[in-house]
Subunit: 386 residues, 2 copies
């Protein structure tokens, strides 16, 4: 297999999008192509992630919509879906299409339009990523399932409610430095603890946002990347994809096998270990999820993730900054775009283009994207060029 | 890239499934694994196609459901979607995952549960594969769009209403010989012409069926296929994927660029030309679609497809038998499974296991799967081993 590089990135501002689904797709895709500084006719295929536009917008078959939006109607396209890991699945397929020599240049992207729907309809659409027969149909929602995880975590490792809140506090602080973030509002631990209760112990400030947004990445074979593109190139060092049972009743919910398996594959391909990673974008659909994930990724010992956050070790100036973008919690969580927006941030940091939120000595970055209640996970590792 | 082979196939009987979505997935997957005669623990990943279970069954994230159904919970999984080409997109991704050396053995599959919903809900869900903003929202449905294609075809090439009906007559006759087919009912040209009118000139007998069903394929690297499997092995010679604009207003609707592009790629990879193909399963969502497709595949000259069918050249004993399974028209069209059920038939024929509908001298077979109004197309070419 040959090397694959990121040559272009683009995303919309997250939040309520002031146009149609097509407008949002076009904006993200055109930004990525423009950033790549390539002749767009070099693009040979489109890998597109969308979670539930079939339900929320009545629109399936979105791949060709992307092709039309960028004026390349005859490209082969496909849609990938794996709940909240949807965007990274699209990335992974695009990555392998180049790695194996099928294509030289591809566009990967994702989008989700959500804010036009009411909260009950959004909740119902999200709950379609549970085992519906056993879970959603008896009233389970994602906040309730991850609340179970938080309670179990407290039972196993002690009540870290205050430390857990710091994940939200930190992500909100980072988002204030990200112009694409949906929330620009500093909060403190008391704000989180006293927030509107959602599912004990989670309050509304422990939960990620309902967002519109799109994010796109242009990938090219490393051997041609700097010949065709005028952008700052970032190389993909590794990619991993793990799975686990969808239902909550039969698995460990304070450590996700999907993350551990994906991490093993990604680290193995990159020839790296957790301590080699300078910074990461980590799936934080809920504060507890970020804590479980940074442990499963090997950044911190099991049961120590919450304390590590509260000690500032994951802050922008910490040992391993997490979610410099603001994360799903404060940058936003447009499901199909989320994994690609994580990669947008990793690449921005590796290029040294992150402005006020720039991480010092950012050479190797990772994105971690989780789907369902730990049912599928994609992890990618990137390195900037000097 | 290395060679890829089919080592196992399985499908449910098409029609109204007497169990749940999970039951249907389990039946198809277990049949394929059993047919492959392998230790199922060799399977490393699952590529799964489902079109619109998010809308019709409220279930997204179906990959892990497949993993659970076969008792391999920790496998990486993903869902592919490209409207009616969904199943073949899953196949293509599984094919490339082995071709590029990522995995040695994968399970690809697809399923759709449809008969539990009313006709208006099915029609609405299907219409999500149009450009919804421009088409479905102003009342367009797939029968109406393909009726436009039929009328335009008549305008360009003459009124072939009687010859077109023969596509349905032939597919119904073939389905009578296929125990997995939904319809076992012989019809004649008058039945088709006098059928309940759907969208002029199409009657209900020009339209494919609403079906439940699942179909699965086990793929392995050719270099290990006969070492790990006790089944009759079939090799994948080529795969092609083409695209075109989603909306009907801006394209040629009597010849689909998506098919022509996919065919060029698949024939090129296989080093074959149309006349090398012994038989094919060709997307026949409507009778007119089969006619357009067999022309775009290069089997017949433009404008001559309908006559070729009426002359018996695509019958079981014709020069190039088409849809020996009964096709979408009479075997059934469970959207996410359709492309894989086509491959099930191609492999069955190449193994010489097709019983009463066995095609003589079937050595090289092709499946053609179209999504949307010619918006995406996947074509695969297979060869049996002596």
């Amino acid at each position: 297999m040959r090397g694959v590089s990121v040559i272009g990135i683009g995303e919309t501002k997250m939040g309520k999008y002031p146009g149609t689904l097509k407008d949002m797709i076009r904006e993200g895709a055109e930004k990525a192509i423009s950033d790549a500084k390539i002749d767009k006719k070099l693009i040979e295929a489109i890998y597109f992630g969308n979670f539930n536009g079939s339900f929320w917008s009545g629109q399936s078959l979105m791949g060709p919509l992307v092709a039309e939006a960028i004026g390349l109607e005859d490209l082969p396209t496909m849609r990938l879906e794996g709940a909240c890991a949807t965007g990274s699945l699209a990335f992974r397929q695009g990555f392998y299409s180049i790695a194996c020599g099928l294509y030289d240049v591809v566009l990967v992207g994702g989008a989700e339009l959500m804010t036009h729907k009411s909260t009950p309809v959004i909740t119902e659409g999200l709950a379609s990523a549970t085992d519906v027969e056993l879970e959603a149909k008896v009233g389970a929602t994602f906040p309730s399932l991850f609340a179970l995880a938080a309670n179990r975590y407290f039972y196993e490792y002690g009540n870290v409610r205050e430390e857990m809140a710091m994940a939200a506090v930190q992500n909100h602080a980072n988002a204030c430095l990200n112009p694409d973030a949906q929330m620009h509002k500093r909060i403190d631990v008391d704000t989180v603890k006293n927030g509107f209760p959602v599912a004990y112990p989670l309050t509304v400030y422990d939960c990620s946002l309902v967002s519109d947004g799109s994010a796109f990445i242009v990938l090219a074979a490393s051997e041609i990347a700097d010949k065709i593109s005028g952008s700052k190139i970032v190389d993909v060092l590794g990619s991993g994809h793990g799975g686990s049972t969808i239902q909550v009743s039969t698995k460990n919910i304070t450590s996700f096998a999907a993350t551990r398996n994906a991490a093993k594959e990604a680290y193995g391909m990159a020839g790296l270990k957790p301590s080699d990673i300078d910074f990461a974008e980590v799936h934080d659909c809920f504060t507890i999820t970020q804590i479980i994930n940074i442990e499963d990724l090997g950044f911190f010992e099991k049961g120590r993730g919450a304390r590590a956050i509260s000690e500032g070790r994951t802050a922008l100036d910490g040992a391993i900054p997490i979610n410099s973008s603001g994360g799903l919690k404060a940058k936003g969580h447009p499901i199909g775009a989320t994994g690609l927006s994580q990669i947008f941030e990793v690449v921005t940091q590796l290029r040294g283009d992150a402005g006020e939120r720039q991480i010092k000595n950012a050479r190797i970055g990772l994105n971690h994207n989780l789907g369902g209640m730990g049912a599928t996970c994609v992890i990618n590792i990137f390195r900037g060029r000097e």
